[in-house]
């Protein structure tokens, strides 16, 4: 007890003698140490990615999901494209958010690229990949329109259910989050709701969003018909977007009204997902997070 009291006295004395300057020095030293640690960590990451090899694409994204290899449809879209185009790649989870704050992003031969559709365009140009060369100009244009509809509208309507109506619970079930990330999850949900409001979809009633989403799914089903892939007999970039979002509905949106639409009503969409999954993701189960 006496020792404790003595120690306490010493601390009090030290506290009364030190002033803000010493405290600031300690804080600065701590900050500097953290910065050095962070920067050296980032440098180690960069070296590791460099070692991946020439022309090996390093895809940076969040950790795998429990029901889909990734809960972000844009990551799924990019990975599906890399598999379709048979481009060597590996996945990295250290720094999921890249330049412009977006995910996924890639590093290729030391250079960074962001935004999944810009990445796909860049890779197609660089490696002379043209999956639409058997299509007419009109068909290619339609493929582009569908890609935009999926990436810019279906995406937001799904987000409106995921974060607006469902508050992120279905998503949380699909993720394998460590304890401290679970605590921060509500903040993330709030940020997404703000984004939804700014984009516009978040200002509609839930019923209106559901109606819009059903129109989009109906359009996809009508255009697909009984073809194996959206544009015909061979898969192309639009199929990567379509597969990513529809697979997301089937595996991560099971409480949403869209699950029944894709699973039961628009059966050709469900069959389409199963077809692409068996063709491009035969190792689907190995890519999932352990429960």
């Amino acid at each position: 007890m006496a020792l404790a009291a003595l120690l306490w006295e010493m601390v009090r004395l030290w506290w009364s003698f030190t002033n803000g300057a010493v405290l600031m020095v300690f804080a600065a030293a701590g900050g500097l140490w953290l910065a050095v640690f962070y920067l050296s960590d980032r440098k180690k990451n960069r070296d590791r990615w460099q070692q991946a090899g020439r022309d090996v694409i390093v895809v940076h994204c969040l950790s795998p999901g429990r029901f889909t290899p990734n809960t972000s449809p844009f990551v799924m879209k990019l990975l599906t494209f890399l598999r379709l185009a048979r481009l060597p790649h590996l996945v990295d989870h250290e720094e999921p958010f890249g330049p412009k704050g977006k995910t996924p992003w890639i590093t290729l031969n030391g250079e960074d690229f962001t935004d999944s559709h810009l990445i796909i365009e860049m890779l197609s140009d660089q490696y002379n990949i043209d999956l639409t060369n058997s299509l007419t100009a009109e068909q290619r244009a339609a493929a582009k329109a569908f890609t935009v509809m999926i990436d810019e509208h279906v995406c937001w309507c799904l987000r409106a259910w995921r974060f607006g109506e469902d508050g992120g619970s279905n998503l949380k079930e699909g993720l394998s989050l460590p304890f401290y990330k679970r605590l921060l999850f509500p903040l993330f949900v709030r940020e997404q709701r703000t984004a939804l409001w700014h984009q516009g979809v978040g200002r509609h009633s839930h019923a209106a969003v559901r109606a819009m989403m059903k129109e989009d799914l109906l359009a996809l089903s009508k255009y697909l018909g009984d073809k194996p892939f959206l544009m015909g007999d061979t898969a192309c970039a639009v199929d990567c977007s379509m597969f990513a979002f529809l697979a997301n509905i089937l595996y991560n949106y099971n409480r949403s009204p869209y699950y029944a639409v894709v699973n039961e009503e628009l059966v050709n969409l469900r069959q389409y997902v199963e077809r692409l999954k068996s063709q491009l993701w035969p190792d689907w189960d190995e890519c999932l997070a352990s429960p």
Binding site: K100, G101, K102, D115, L118, A137, E138, R140, A141, A142, K144, A145, F146, V148, M149, E152, H153, W156, T194, A195, H198, Q199, G200, R203, H204, A208, A211, M212, E215, D216, L218, A219, L220, S221, K222, Y223, L224, G225
Partner: protein
């Protein structure tokens, strides 16, 4: 001089505070009552237009296009296509939930041009895609979404960020000083929306490139057909016309104007064709109507 000011202020502090507060409250009350009465009068006027007549509320006319907003122009074009009688109102451009444009129909209010078009289609039994194949119906929806959810954002970025709203303000008549003052705030809000949507995170050149690819797709799909889906107009043509007409006439100096007029000239021909078909009285609908 300073002493007089201080004395005057002191006199007011001693004697005038209550009177000033009363005057301010009275003024506030009078203004509120006047606004309320005006609002009620407007609604009475709108209700008197007749059954099944749509009252479209939006921002004012432009000097080169009947409206500066692509969504109002889309809605008006659709009403003309569907031959639904309508009247324009520019007094209350923002609706009860802040949307613009919005409509009043038989006493009911509704916002969002796309939702309005769908509602009117159901109500008046108009479906301009009925004769299309299933595939074409799907494609029409996809192109409609491309215009409203992608092109619209790219154009918005040019109008408000790259051009800083200058051309827009020039086209508006009698811009109240307070609007000019609050313009930076409005621009900031739009900038934030653009960032959250995603397109605002790219550089201007990247956005031009992204939008050009969309315009190229529309141009290739249109080909040498008279309208996007074939020989007849449909809903997607209204959305496309609403946006492209803005580019043709209200985006002078932007790269998009060159794309529509020069690089993909079938788009320019298309806009003129829709204008001739649905807006034969275009010149009379402008702010300073050109009398033929």
């Amino acid at each position: 001089m300073l002493e007089a000011v201080v004395e005057g202020w002191w006199w007011w502090w001693q004697n005038g505070r209550v009177a000033t507060a009363a005057v301010v409250l009275l003024a506030f009350g009078v203004i509120s009552v006047k606004r309320y009465v005006a609002k009620k009068n407007r609604r009475r006027r709108w209700a008197a237009v007749g059954k099944d007549v749509v009252v479209v509320h939006g921002l004012g006319k432009g000097r080169r296009t009947p409206n500066l907003s692509p969504f109002v122009l889309t809605l008006e074009t659709y009403l003309r296509l569907a031959k639904i009688p309508y009247q324009m109102d520019y007094e209350e451009p923002f609706g009860p939930k802040g949307q613009s444009p919005w409509i009043t129909l038989n006493g009911q209010e509704m916002g969002d041009s796309q939702l309005i078009i769908q509602m009117l289609g159901r109500r008046f039994g108009k479906d301009f895609t009925a004769s299309l194949t299933k595939e074409q119906k799907g494609a029409a929806r996809a192109f409609n979404m491309m215009v409203t959810e992608h092109l619209a954002w790219g154009f918005r970025l040019w109008r408000w960020v790259e051009n800083k709203g200058r051309l827009m303000l020039q086209e508006m008549d009698r811009v109240p000083f307070i609007v000019r003052l609050l313009m930076p705030l409005k621009r900031r809000q739009i900038f934030k929306s653009l960032y959250f949507q995603g397109i605002g995170r790219h550089s201007a050149e990247e956005v031009h490139d992204i939008i050009e690819r969309d315009l190229a797709a529309i141009s290739f799909y249109l080909g040498d057909k008279p309208f996007l889906m074939g020989s007849d107009l449909c809903e997607v043509d209204c959305a496309l016309f609403g946006s492209l007409a803005q580019i043709m006439w209200n985006y002078s100096g932007s790269p998009y104007e060159t794309m529509v007029k020069v690089k993909y000239p079938n788009l320019k021909e298309y806009v003129l064709r829709v204008k001739e078909t649905l807006w034969p009285d275009w010149d009379q609908c402008l702010k300073r109507p050109k009398m033929s």
